[in-house]
Subunit: 458 residues, 2 copies
């Protein structure tokens, strides 16, 4: 790890695309276009000795031909010439270089020597490298996009609160694409590939200070130095939530890690201990990684584990109660006021107000409004899980506004669950944008709430 | 339980909609329209004393005014007049009556007496009742649709292999809607509400003989008689897979069940024992209910637990290996032939062919084709998990055809996982239609495979 800043990776005033191409199929074309489509506010310099201009922008034969200072570069030329390109970036004094190019340590043989050479090129320079063999950076705020796949294959997520760093590029691609569809907002994303220079420790430190980032999602196969990583986690997790998905936990997985990123996965037990000791949260699978990040990023801490469940689907209430007990949480006893106020808006034949609160199948938006606001106020309630059945005839889409405005006023955490098709998913995504984590099943909503409560108790 | 057949619920030659309405907001209108939109092939008789015709169809004042024989009826009038309507159905000799009307036992008080009366009305008659207080029947093949919600709120699933019965109407609505979006095919669906006559035992027996149904999904809160249920399960599960999601497992959940469907949830331990002894499969949550049903309905039995993982995303391969070990399955050792044939289509610098098989980021459809077909042939492989990263530049959508045609030829089970946004989900749904269960994460694919293997070992 170097003491040099990595700030320029996220806020460069200019970028050189080394290997920019006029062939739309080439990565160097897609990346140049990405920067333009993102509305990158700085200067863009395509670099390619064979053409004069690409997409209407003047092209340079080398970064050394650019007169102005250049803050950052993306290198996307073949491996045989990539180190030469990097040398020129060093000479030009470019501080932040993303090396997309593959064909380094991961291929063995000549690649290993090539990576050694790469390291010696940047040694004692002010140039930092993310990569090689990576998909690079996607930054919603810095408007940076080195992901070399077109939009129709890989949707880009909206700007948001969650930073994501990943040792695997392929995994990250699929998750970003998924996050885009789910309207999960991403602040900054970095795939750091072979990790020859910038590593997860520096990235975590940087993101811990980043004002745009409220929680950090991490996919890891192995770390360089366990002790350094633990020290870093302690510092970072004290500032904001860090959720880690560790791959390579089993014997079979550990072997697979060696042939994937060439990392040593190390002992999972030791790693798991470090995550806990460091104050981070562990995700068991891909769903949990973002289920947990979302609730930790959006919702306030819980003061206890007494949960109110509000639903218009009795069966969902039952399943929620099962999950709550299984997770070691408990259902709150509603106060007398809550019970009375809610009874006022229920049909006469309604038997009794209790938790899980079944507003029954003909519940409308008003009934939800009264119920939600009463349980929020109830001193016996520490957190609220709203399980909506959005398909019923009586419940209009305005339920989204009711939940969003309750969430605005509430100092207690709220999570939502709703299962269904396109209409339901549309409304869930709307909640997501309003900062209410919305899950496709009650079980996942309860697990998220449990994680938030455990995190609040640290 | 009665000895009388429930066949007419699923294959009626005619239906009377008692409470049909010309007001598009009324359930009686929606249901009439559903039957018309489904292309119900029999005769439809709207029944409403106040109008002459609805949607261009002649309307009757009572079922007794219909001259022809009537096989089935849907009753959707207010509770105060529902039993009278049922009496007329009995008098008319209608064998299958779906009572949508609520306001029976579930409301207590007068509703309890009303339900007692309902039971005495059909006693000693040839009339059977599904409900009351239910959403009724959706039958893709019989073209029956009593779900009283318009299509824009509740999508209808395509015709397919999985039957679904549910004690909770609300839960079922959201699942049907979700299944429609996911292109999961449903053969017959029944929500039986208060279960005053037709119950899960009769439905399971009927579905076990149904040629359109390959697996049965069940949502249950409690059963009437545990011993009868166990005997039924033994018979039915011997014929086709039954997957059960039991709600009301915990103390809190059990209490919630009592106020939801008024059932006694009973001891979960006893129930769980019955599921196992009966040869059914238990689902822990809503995702598992259909994750398991799909693999059991579509895929052949596994002869062992040696799994081949084929992927173009190294990180996904690692996570799959972790899940496989955690689930007690194992990664197969590929035979020499498999290794050689696959090496032939890999880039030269590729290090070694092993399991999980990482076809790396530039894999195209042909590389997948060779790999999949070789692992299918390999004597050391019992099941195949294909984890595709569909976002890469080199992998075209034809991968769907390659997997589908391999699946046609294979006598070994195949499941697929792919994570991503709209493009990925589109391709996953295409696989689903071809009978390949496709999951949004490697973890869920592995759990499904594990369930199939355990089921095959029974």
């Amino acid at each position: 790890m170097s003491g040099k800043s990595i700030h320029k990776f996220f806020a460069p005033k200019s970028v050189a695309i080394v290997g920019a191409s006029d062939n739309p199929k080439k990565f160097g074309h897609v990346i140049l276009k990405n920067y333009m489509d993102m509305g990158f506010s700085g200067k863009i310099y395509p670099v390619n000795p064979k053409v004069d201009s690409i997409l209407g922008i003047k092209c340079y034969k080398s970064v050394l031909d650019i007169r102005e200072d250049v803050d950052s570069a993306v290198i996307v030329v073949p491996p045989q010439v990539a180190n030469e390109a990097l040398k020129e970036c060093v000479k030009k004094g470019i501080e932040a270089v993303v090396m997309i190019t593959a064909g380094y340590r991961e291929t063995g043989g000549a690649g290993v020597a090539r990576e050694q050479e790469l390291k010696s090129i940047i040694r004692d320079s002010k140039t930092r490298v993310v990569g090689p063999n990576c998909i690079g950076i996607y930054d919603s705020f810095g408007r940076i996009d080195t992901l070399f796949l077109p939009d129709y294959k890989l949707k880009r997520p909206r700007a948001g609160d969650i930073a994501f760093i990943s040792q695997s590029g392929a995994f990250a691609l699929s998750i970003l694409d998924w996050a885009a569809t789910e309207e999960i907002g991403i602040s900054r994303f970095v795939s750091y590939g072979n990790r020859c220079d910038v590593d997860e420790i520096e990235l975590l430190n940087y993101l811990s200070e980043d004002k745009k980032t409220k929680a950090i999602a991490v996919y890891l196969e192995g770390v360089r130095n366990g002790r350094d990583f633990l020290e870093c986690l302690k510092k970072v997790a004290a500032k904001k939530p860090v959720v880690i998905l560790k791959a390579g936990k089993s014997k079979a997985g550990t072997r697979a890690v060696q042939s994937h990123t060439g990392s040593l996965a190390g002992s999972y037990e030791v790693f798991r201990g470090a995550i806990r000791q460091g104050g981070a949260v562990e995700a068991e699978n891909t769903e949990e990684l973002f289920d947990f990040c979302r609730v930790l990023a959006y919702q306030p801490a819980a003061k206890g584990k007494r949960i109110a469940v509000v639903t218009n689907g009795g069966g969902f209430g039952v399943m929620c109660a099962d999950s709550i007990e299984r997770c070691g949480l408990c259902l709150s006893e509603f106060s007398k006021d809550t019970v009375e106020n809610i009874r006022d808006v229920m049909p006469k034949e309604y038997s009794s107000v209790h938790n899980p609160l079944d507003l029954i199948g003909d519940a409308d938006v008003r009934r939800f409004d009264v119920a939600i606001n009463n349980v929020i106020k109830d001193k016996n309630v520490d957190g609220i899980i709203i399980v909506t059945l959005l398909q019923t005839a009586s419940l209009g889409p305005e339920i989204v506004d009711v939940i969003a405005s309750a969430n605005e006023r509430s100092r207690k955490p709220i999570v939502v669950s709703a299962s269904g098709g396109e209409y339901t998913q549309l409304l869930l995504r709307s909640l997501e944008k309003d900062g209410i984590p919305a899950y496709p099943s009650p079980d996942r909503a309860v697990c998220a709430m449990k994680t938030l409560i455990e995190y609040s108790e640290r």
